[in-house]
């Protein structure tokens, strides 16, 4: 704990909230105090980890095979002279998976720019179209390959789920990409895409937090980034300290959650055998606003 600015800011925030609690209690909804505490705790952990990483703190992250395979997939496409197909899901930018998918697209497009490999990104939402175009354009500029950047590499198909799947399947069959990357929010079209990719012999890497679709990707793809792995992928690919710090911070948050679960089970056990009068489930229940 050598981060003086962080400690001072935390103390100021603590006293500010204490002051408001004591002298302006009407600003608070008491039933939601637990959520306020958790937001401050988790926010503080993330902030501390990020600052720690930016200040040069040592961050160790284990290898995720799926992330490592992304560069191999782009390299394979380059060797074979075939395009890379990138599918950023079928939802809009208000979904965290789509945002993560577009961020990873930025890293993938850096690789395709570096190796001068064709990239094809069909999208299903207008805002995703602009965001993906911006991400690719920036990557090609950074790599000094703006001359080979083509705005049509990111193109709109349709908003409709299965029409989009039919369109992407058609692209796969006609262009025969050597690598298919599915990174974003998916629903029932996931298996349709992954099966077609499998049938054309492309190396396939999927990343999603859509619980019901992970099994399909696990079955049909070479690598699958499951849930948290998918969100951590952009940190792994960029190696930016602030992002690596966030991944580390999220580990601390998971540890807090495990402690809360184990502690909660213990408290419930004691409550069930009438040793204490404190019901932990009531404590954790946050009522909605009326």
């Amino acid at each position: 704990m050598k981060d003086k600015n962080f400690i001072v800011s935390s103390i100021i925030i603590f006293f500010a909230f204490t002051y408001l609690q004591l002298f302006k209690p009407d600003l608070y909804i008491d039933e939601r105090g637990l959520l306020l505490f958790l937001i401050l705790l988790f926010g503080g952990i993330l902030q501390y980890s990020t600052r720690h990483a930016i200040r040069g703190g040592d961050i160790f992250l284990r290898t995720i095979p799926g992330v490592k395979a992304v560069e191999e997939a782009v390299g394979r496409s380059t060797e074979m002279g075939k395009p890379v197909l990138y599918v950023p899901g079928i939802q809009d930018m208000d979904q965290v998976e789509t945002v993560a998918g577009v961020v990873i697209l930025g890293h993938v497009s850096k690789m395709t720019a570096r190796y001068e490999t064709p990239l094809n990104v069909p999208v299903a939402r207008s805002i995703v179209l602009k965001a993906a175009q911006e991400a690719c354009k920036e990557s090609y500029l950074i790599e000094g390959k703006s001359d080979i950047y083509n705005e049509n590499m990111v193109h709109y198909l349709t908003d409709d789920q299965f029409a989009y799947a039919a369109g992407v399947n058609g692209i796969m069959n006609r262009e025969k990409p050597a690598a298919c990357l599915y990174m974003g929010k998916f629903y029932a079209e996931s298996l349709l895409l992954a099966e077609t990719g499998n049938s054309i012999g492309a190396i396939q890497i999927a990343g999603t937090a859509s619980q019901s679709q992970i099994p399909f990707f696990v079955t049909a793809c070479d690598y699958t980034l499951i849930g948290e792995e998918f969100f951590a992928a952009s940190a792994y690919l960029s190696q930016k300290p602030e992002l690596l710090g966030i991944v580390k911070g999220q580990d601390y948050i998971k540890l807090c959650i495990i402690i809360m679960i184990v502690g909660g089970v213990l408290l419930r056990f004691l409550y069930d055998i009438d040793l204490i009068d404190f019901n932990v489930l009531d404590f954790l229940t946050v009522s909605n606003l009326k």
Binding site: L61, I127, D159, A163, V247, D251, I261, R268, D272, V280
Partner: protein, 275 residues
């Protein structure tokens, strides 16, 4: 039976079989179905988006029916637009039950900025809309996710391990052993997603247990989804069988045999061209 029903059945049969023909290989029938589907759906969603969101919820709040708001200079713009496109801007304001709310000018401006980005010099304008969407979604969802995903998961995992009302084991109902499995599965699953520690030694064994739990749940989910898909397939087959009746002039049989003949002809043609 009226003509529209019969024609609809023939179209449905053609597109169903055209999509199924992809199982053989990419072919002109699939291409027709694919392009028609994409084109029609893109146009359909544009129309739906405009008439269910933009016109009633955006324009309807900027220029509601004059019954709900006072006549002002603001309406002179509306009257001008109404004289050009009366179907979108009907006379007397848009009556969707809303009051005037000029804060909706913000999404209108962001939308216009998004459209203007088609011009290269205004390309930067799209970023404002993207930033707005992402930031609002992040702010709105932070609270909801914390409450329903994190607190909800914690509460769901705090299961009774000493409650005498529960049996030791039951295959489908809550039991002490099932509760223990829930606790173990959640904790080891969470530990699997620890990235800042190498998965080796005893920690590796625990995380391996976590991935086993995950894979078992994925397997169950996969089986459940496949069952759902099979029922969809049966539904499609039932429609095809219905459309093969004389009421629909044997649509399924005609389309099916014509497609088969044309695909065989195309395959022979391709073979002779390649040789």
């Amino acid at each position: 039976m009226i003509f529209n029903d019969i024609f609809g059945a023939w179209v449905a049969v053609f597109f169903t079989l055209a999509i199924f023909s992809f199982l053989y290989k990419d072919n002109p029938f699939y291409k027709i179905a694919e392009h028609a589907y994409i084109g029609i759906s893109a146009g359909y969603w544009l129309s739906i988006g405009f008439w269910t969101i933009i016109q009633p919820n955006l324009l309807g709040r900027l220029w509601p029916s004059k019954e709900y708001s006072e006549e002002s200079f603001w309406y002179s713009i509306y009257d001008f637009l109404s004289s050009i496109i009366p179907s979108i801007f009907p006379n007397g304001g848009i009556d969707k039950g809303h009051n005037m709310d000029l804060t909706y000018l913000i999404p209108l401006v962001l939308g216009i900025m998004m459209i203007l980005s088609i011009f290269k010099q205004f390309n930067w304008m799209a970023r404002w809309g993207i930033a707005y969407t992402v930031a609002i979604a992040a702010g709105l969802r932070a609270y909801g996710y914390l409450n329903s995903y994190i607190l909800g998961q914690i509460k769901g995992t705090i299961v009774p391990l000493a409650n005498t009302e529960y049996p030791i084991f039951h295959i489908s109902e809550p039991s002490l052993l099932n509760n223990l499995l829930i606790l173990l599965g959640t904790v080891t699953g969470l530990l699997y997603f620890f990235f800042s520690r190498e998965q080796s030694g005893s920690f590796g064994k625990i995380t391996r247990l976590g991935i086993y739990f995950l894979m078992i749940s994925f397997g169950a989910s996969f089986g459940f989804a496949v069952m759902g898909r099979i029922s969809l397939l049966i539904g499609r087959f039932v429609s095809l069988i219905d459309y093969s009746s004389s009421q629909y002039h044997h649509a399924t049989l005609w389309v099916f045999f014509l497609m088969i003949i044309l695909l065989i002809y195309s395959a022979i043609n391709d073979r002779s061209t390649s040789s």
